[in-house]
Every structure is written in C-alpha cells, then in structure tokens.
C-alpha cells in the first residue's frame, strides 16, 4: 500500500507540473503578445512601443519563456506566488479568497447532489417502472439535458424576477448560494441519480440480496445493509469527477451570478494576460483535480474490500 501510494503521488506530481508547463506554453503560443495586452489595459488607450517595452522589462516578460517558467516554478515551490499584475495584490491572498468561495459552492452543491441523487436514485429503483419512477426519469432527463446557463436564467426569472424570493447575483448571504447551487447541482444530481437507479436495479437482481431477503429482511433494509456498499465505488467515482468540475469549471455560473470563485478570477486573469495569476490558478486547480481523484481511488479500497491491494 505504501509503495502504491508513493507511486500515485509521484504520478500526481508529474501531472501537476506538466499542466503548469503546458499552460505557460499556451500563453506564449497564443497569437497576442502578453506585454502588449498588459500595456493596453494597464496604461489605457493604444500604448506606444516604448511603453510596451517598459512593461515587458518591468514584468520580466523579456526573458525566454523557459527562463520565466523556471523562475516562476522555483518561487512557487517555495510558496511565493508573487503579485497580480492586474490588481497589484498578493496572489496567495486573492487565490485563497477565491478558493474559499469556490469550496463553499462546490461543497454545498455536492452535498445537494449526493442527497438528491442518492435518495431519488434508490427510490426510483425500488419503484421501478411505476408512474412515479417514469415521471422522475423524465424530470431527470430534462435536468440533465438543459445547459447550466439556461437553467440559471430560468431560475433567476422564476425566483428573482417573478417571485422575488431570492437574489439574482452576489455572495453576501446563504440565500445568495441557493440559485448558483441549484443551477450547478440539478444537472449533476440528475446524472448521478440515473446512475444510482441503474446500479441499484442491477444489485436488486443479484443472488446475495435474494438470500438476504430469504432470511427475513425487507427489500429496502436488505438493500441498505448489503446492496449500497456494492454501488459505492462507481457512485464515488462520478461524484469525484463532478466535484473537481465544480471547483475549477464553474466559470459560466460564477460569472452569471457574480460569484467570486476561482472560475471568474481565472477568466479575468486570462483576459488581462496576468501570467502569474493564470499559473497560480492552474497549479491550484490541477492539484485539486489530481488530489480529489487520488482520494477517490484510495477510498475504493475502504469501500470495497475486493479492491484492496496485496494481502
């Protein structure tokens, strides 16, 4: 197990490093010159060549890209992410704040997804092929097929404009969390619910459950005690994937609701060619995604003894 963990950690490190290198390369392969873009936005108007050169030197953009990358990497590994070119503030503080908001949204959305998908998936499997099941399937299909941004506008229209119950933007109170959480969570919950229903139906037909029922357990209690551990692995796998999407990829929903998370912070940095911020966010997101998947992989052994290594 120790060796396995070490190998996985090494893998994870390589993936994260590779991602940061790739994103640095992309910034330099993009058709526009970062110094030009920064000069135009920092100095206003159409900057003249002397001003662009000044920006290039001031931010160290005159060095070859690999020198810049190595210099950034050395500092980043020591925990020094530098200052944002766009705001002049310490990146570590800004990223931590954005990460906090992203985590709040991602954790609550995931909790909502687990609750809704777990309950509705199991319930639908137990009521398989009844009218309720079919209605739920239809509703789930609808939620899973609707694009998030469209759902967001629909929710804003219903709950903010028509009913006036919930705010349409911002992050000031827990009420502000509800609409972005629903916009992100309904589709994910629908997908996970369908998976759960299929998995549970699969298990319900298996011999060990029939045996459990023969011993006098009800269908529901047999399923809870014996069936659910068996479906936990694919459930966790999809959940981990969706959670990492929520943390790093909620750009559209964050922008729509002006939610100050990592996604909108990152997009602002890309528009500004704020290289140190882009790199810091890429490093963070890559670490989170790799970390969440690693944790999920490790959890399989805990959830299902058959998947444990060695012994």
């Amino acid at each position: 197990m120790g060796r396995y963990l070490l190998k996985r950690l090494l893998h994870a490190g390589c993936i994260v490093l590779g991602t940061t290198l790739l994103s640095y390369l992309l910034i330099y392969l993009a058709p526009s010159d970062p110094a030009q873009v920064i000069a135009a936005q920092r100095l206003g108007g159409h900057p003249n060549p002397a001003q662009v050169d000044w920006v290039r030197q001031y931010y160290g953009l005159d060095q070859p890209w690999f020198v810049q990358y190595l210099r950034w990497l050395t500092r980043a590994l020591q925990g020094d992410f530098g200052l944002s070119i766009r705001t002049g503030q310490a990146i570590l503080g800004e990223v931590s704040r954005a990460l906090h908001y992203s985590l709040v949204l991602a954790v609550w959305t995931s909790a909502f997804v687990v609750l809704v998908a777990g309950v509705s998936g199991v319930w639908a499997a137990l009521r398989c092929n009844t009218l309720w099941d079919q209605l739920l399937q239809l509703f789930g299909l609808l939620c899973a097929s609707v694009p998030e941004f469209w759902l967001a506008f629909l929710l804003i229209w219903v709950f903010a404009i028509t009913l006036g119950w919930l705010p349409s933007y911002g992050a000031k109170s827990s009420a502000h969390l509800i609409l972005p959480m629903l916009s992100l969570g309904l589709g994910q919950a629908a997908r996970l619910s369908r998976l759960t229903r299929t998995l549970v139906l699969d298990e319900l037909g298996k011999d060990y459950l029939r045996t459990a029922r023969a011993k006098g357990r009800t269908r529901a209690s047999a399923l809870l005690r014996h069936g659910l551990p068996n479906i936990a692995v694919p459930f966790v796998a999809l959940l981990a994937y969706q959670f990492s999407l929520l943390l790093s990829g909620a750009i559209i929903i964050e922008t729509l609701f002006t939610w100050p998370g990592l996604g909108s912070y990152y997009i602002a940095a890309v528009h500004f060619r704020d290289v140190p911020v882009i790199q810091a966010v890429v490093l963070l997101c890559a670490s989170i995604i790799v970390g969440v998947h690693l944790l999920a992989d490790l959890s399989y052994g805990l959830l299902d003894p058959r998947l444990r290594l060695g012994s």
Binding site: L43, G45, P49, S168, Y169, T255, L256, F257, T258
Partner: protein, 510 residues
C-alpha cells in the same frame, strides 16, 4: 428593496441608489488604470469639467486663461474646497498631484504628460502650467479622469503609495470591497449637493444578470459604457416593463473601418470610395440597432466638438456608383459576378473585435452581404480585444473595424493617435500622409477658435476626399432604470456619473 420604504405616492423616501457595474471596481485610485471610471467620477474632480455640450465648465478651477502664444496657462483655484479627509485643496495639493504623474511612461498616451514642462504655484490659489508648444486641447485633457483628477495628498502611505480613496467630489467612499462600493453624500461639498444620500455600486459581471437584477428591483440603474452595456436583445423586455424606463442620448462614439491603404486594392482611393458607397448605413441603423444609432456622416459622431457637418454624397448608399468607380479602377465582374482585375478576384478580410460591443459582429455580417452584392468577396475574422490590438499594431489586416474614443478625448486624440505620422518609426497609425499631418498639427497648435474651426473643417474635408476611413454608425447612448428613479440626466461623457446623479430623486412606491 433599497430606497422603497413605505411612503405616500410621490413622497421622498430614505434615498440610496443602487447601480450595477460590469467589471471589478478596483482600488478607486485616480492615478492608475485599474479602477472603474464612473466610480472615480463620483469621488474625484478635475480643474475643468467637460460640459454636456462639450464646452469647458469650471470645477476645481473657477477661471483660467492663457498667454497669447498659448504656452502658459494660469488657473485660479476654487476657494474653501477641502478633500474628504479635511485636507485643504490648494495650489500645493494641485502641484503634488501633477508631480505624481507628469512624465511617467504609464501615462504617455495622454499628450499632455509630455507637453507640460513646468507646474508653478505663485500663490495658494493660483497654478501656472508651462507647455512645450501651444496645445489647445489642454482643457479637454485636464477634464479626463485618469491620471489627472485630484487625490488628497494625505491619502497615501509613507512611501507615497496610494492608500485610500479620497477626493473632493460630491460623494465619499464609505466602504469598498472588490465587488461592492458604498458611497455617502459629501455634506461639505462646495457645489450643489445631490438629492439622494447614498450610492451603492454593485458588480454584476454578466449583462443578462444585470438586466434580471434591474427587473427584480435589486438594482435601480444599468447601462453606459463604464457601468456595463445593455444587451440589444433585452431592450424590448426593458421597454415593455412599466416599472422600468429607458434613457437614451445622442451618440458620442462611432465605428469605422480602417483600410490597409498602402497595399492593393486599397492604395487606390477609388476602391476606398467605392466601399464607402457600397455600405447601406441606414439599413444597419434600422436592422441592427432598431433605429437607436445614427448613420455616420464622417469619422466622428456629430456631438464631438468641431464636427458640424451633414452627410456628403460619399456616405449615401449608392451601389451603382460604387460599381462604376470599381470599374474605373480596373475591377470588372466575371461570369459569376465576382470582381476581377488581372485575373485576381477582389477578396479581403475584415477584422472585428467582438468583445467591445455585442453588435459588432452583426454589423460586419451586414457589410459582408452588402459588398457581396457588388461583387466583393469579404471574409470575417473575429478577435478578442488583445487579438484585435495585435492586428492593428502589426498592420496585419485589409479592413479592421475600429471605434473612436468619444469625449473628452475626441476629436484631437484619435486624429493625433491614428491619423498622424508618429515620431517613432515603428508606431503604426491607421493612415498618414504629409498633408493631413500638417493640418492636424496646425489644428492642435491653433490658439483661436475660428482658425481652429476652419482647420478642422479642412481635416474632415480631406478625410472625405481621400476616403481615409469607412465611417459606419454611431450607436446612441443607452441606460435603463427603475421608473421610481427620476431626474437622471446624461452628461457630456459616458463616465459623467456625478453629473448624471446630481438631481436624481427616488420616488416611493404607491
């Protein structure tokens, strides 16, 4: 909802106006470029304001004058003005502000930074500026926001680094977060105080969400270039809602196409003229802007100083004349109707920055269809702002859609920046020739209005004759607000928020 407590019909209520801004607010430092200009306008004031009609209006200076040669300008400061922190606004504060930004490379886009050679303070209420050469737009440039507006000398830390927002304006900053600014009325303001007591600026990044927040009443006003534009498809919704009102103003910025005039086919003035004649500007105004724009009569909108003209024949849609001009230039239709010269079809690319205004892509598509009718094969290339800038700087385009700067920068900044040969050999204006250079220099150095007026008319005439650019349309200014907000008015520039809000009253709900 803010500002809508229980009150009789039409009665005044506790008054806070909530506005939406489409971008991060920044630190509200008037000397850098990271802050929202409309927010800065509430806090900071210039010596001279750009009036609603384009004429200079006294602000922190009560009067001014220049020597006959136009080289020395003397400003008399308004007495008994203090910054929000109580620091007196005097000649020393003015000099301290000028010294912070004059000559800094960051502000080189503003010609004034290089033209002012000396700032003197003969007494506490007088400031004298010495210029390198006569430069009439000095009053217009002194009215811009960044970097010329006045910060309290006590609003910086021991190293001179900006520490907190503090100006002389009608509004004081009560609290500022990344996405929310709360301002309160400056009770010690020297001028007419606003009617309402507070302004809250909330950042809402998405344009559709801004509209939704206005409809739900969370926000009371949206629109304008610095607060965040209104998407054209939302206009009908906004107009249909009785709780909302739409406020429009005449155009101040315009769109035009720059041509690659040094290479074929645009090195031939007849081709440039033909393209002007081939575009149906009225059609674009009606179909794309629903009438909320003006067909261009020249490179600048008609509200810009020294622009007094009506449309010449060049800008009237006339495809048959365009065809005959192209035929004169040697371009003749082949069997499929495509224009050909020496075996080469008339093909070109039009570069468009789609990030600035949502309508730009539709305009480009309309132009594509219109010029196709006379046999020109036009391809579109869409850019974000940085890609557009790169194309402009490297002259890597045949046609490039571009904007004027709007007041208070125009007409002089655009002419000087895009249509005059730059001193640096690698600078790339959109069009240059010696005759136009001479006219622009003479206009900028002119010291009396009639001469300047004549010179500008010659510039416009010359630009028409040479078809220097292909002017398109000037979109109207567009705002929307809750009907309960009354007294809103538009100033001379898009960032004149202090002026816009000065007479605003929020009426209670029935």
């Amino acid at each position: 909802m803010p500002g809508s407590q229980e009150a009789g019909p039409g009665a005044k209520v506790a008054q806070t106006l909530v506005l939406a801004a489409g971008h991060e607010l920044g630190a509200a430092n008037p000397h850098d470029y990271g802050s929202n200009m409309a927010l800065l306008d509430l806090l900071y004031e210039p010596l001279v304001r750009y009036g609603p009609d384009g004429s200079p209006v006294p602000a922190l200076a009560v009067s001014w004058g220049s020597t006959p040669d136009g080289l020395t300008w003397t400003f008399t400061l308004r007495p008994q003005v203090t910054f929000h922190d109580g620091t007196p606004f005097d000649a020393a504060a003015v000099k301290w502000n000028f010294d912070r930004w004059l000559g800094a490379p960051a502000h080189g886009w503003l010609p004034l930074t290089e033209r002012i050679t000396k700032v003197e303070t003969p007494d506490a209420r007088t400031v004298a500026l010495t210029l390198r050469q006569a430069y009439y737009p000095i009053l217009q440039e002194l009215s811009v926001i960044r970097p010329v507006r006045f910060l309290s000398p006590r609003a910086v830390d021991g190293h001179g680094v900006f520490a907190q927002p503090c100006g002389t304006g009608p509004w004081k900053m009560a609290s500022l977060a990344e996405r929310r600014a709360v301002l309160v009325r400056n009770e010690a303001y020297w001028g007419a105080k606003p009617q309402i007591h507070g302004v809250v600026v909330e950042v809402i990044l998405d344009a559709q969400t801004r509209v939704a927040a206005l409809q739900s009443g969370e926000i009371q006003m949206i629109g304008g270039e610095y607060l965040g534009t209104i998407p054209p498809e939302s206009l009908a919704t906004l107009q249909a809602d009785p709780a909302l009102a739409v406020l429009t103003g005449s155009s101040v910025t315009s769109l035009h196409l720059m041509t690659q005039y040094i290479k074929p086919p645009f090195d031939d003035v007849r081709v440039r003229r033909a393209l002007n004649l081939a575009i149906d500007r009225q059609g674009i105004v009606q179909a794309i802007f629903g009438g909320r724009a003006e067909a261009a009569t020249g490179v600048m909108a008609s509200a810009i100083p020294y622009v007094t003209r009506t449309a010449t024949d060049l800008y009237h849609f006339n495809p048959s004349q365009a065809r005959s001009l192209l035929a004169e230039a040697g371009w003749r239709p082949d069997a499929r109707g495509v224009l050909v010269k020496d075996g080469q079809p008339l093909q070109m690319e039009l570069g468009v920055d789609r990030s600035r205004l949502p309508e730009t892509v539709s305009i480009a598509e309309a132009i594509q269809a219109q010029v196709q009718a006379i046999g020109i094969d036009l391809k579109l290339r869409l850019y974000d702002y940085s890609g557009w800038l790169q194309a402009y700087r490297s002259r890597h385009f045949a046609l490039l859609m571009s904007f004027t700067w709007g007041p208070p920068y125009d007409p002089h900044t655009l002419l000087h920046g895009s249509f005059r040969s730059a001193p640096a050999p690698d600078a790339m204006p959109a069009y240059t020739d010696a005759q136009l250079d001479g006219l622009i220099d003479a206009a900028l150095a002119s010291t009396d209005v009639p001469t300047r007026h004549t010179l500008y008319q010659r510039i416009w005439q010359y630009m028409d004759d040479q078809a220097v650019v292909i002017p398109l349309v000037s979109p109207h200014r567009l705002y929307a607000h809750r009907s309960s907000v009354t007294g809103l008015r538009l100033g001379g520039t898009e960032y004149d928020l202090a002026y816009a809000l000065q007479q605003v009253v929020i009426r209670g709900k029935k």
